[in-house]
Amino acid sequence: MEVSPSKNADNAGTKPAPVAEVAAASVGAGAALTAVVACSCCVSPVIAPLIVGVLGVSGAVTLAGIKPYTPWLLAGSLLMLGYAFWRTHRPAGECRVRPRRGVRAMLWISALVWMMAVASAALNAADLPFSTLDTAAEPLRAAFNADVGKTRIVMLVSPT
């Protein structure tokens, strides 16, 4: 007597996820990673120390060079997310099974990460002012002396 195999794709653990589901989840995760990279140049004070600690100041400054490409990276990651959502939520075909809960959760988490990256990039879009030193190192010297009662740090670094 033959027993027909179950067609319920939500029977977690009974069989591995179809390749298409894994691919969709991977694309979503890739979109999230791309979004994080896109905003890593201009991240909040919470993440900046981590970047400096891992890459060093010079490495972090190099990462800051990503900023001009941030809109393109975010747009690309949005396309990847859109594709992943379409793959998992498109109308069911004759042989298509419902995507697993884990895959759908991964996509929504990726979408949340993307939105946080966009918010971070928007918040950090404003540039900071800077002064140009003359041959007497002014106005740095004046500022240094004005803060004589404080512990002072002077950093000589390249922005590239």
Binding site: T132, L133, N145, S158
Partner: protein
Amino acid sequence: MEKNPSRNLAVYVVWVPELGAQPKHVPDAATLVRDPRARHYWDGDEVVGKAYNGVLGIGRIAWDSYFIFDPGKLWDAGSVPTPDFWMHQMSKVRQAPMLSPKVFAAQVAQRTGAAQPAGVR
């Protein structure tokens, strides 16, 4: 700087034209240090780095260097103040240790009375 909220701390980030850097690169890079206690400068002629070559005796223009100055130290005209502690990321410079963020942060914390960073004795 996020872990050291001391008001007795001032930071001067001096951006220099190394590695092909130009003034247009400063605004983006400056976003790495947004703390209101930090001020940013562009030293296109590396006036400060050249002065520290002589003061520190390193035989090259100083850059990728991080100096700490204790309260009370003044910057006289025509020279640069000797740092009370410094670290760097320059090759073949032995006058000071290579930059360790934890050690540097601990030195700053010690001087400002802030809590020591975790993992540093």
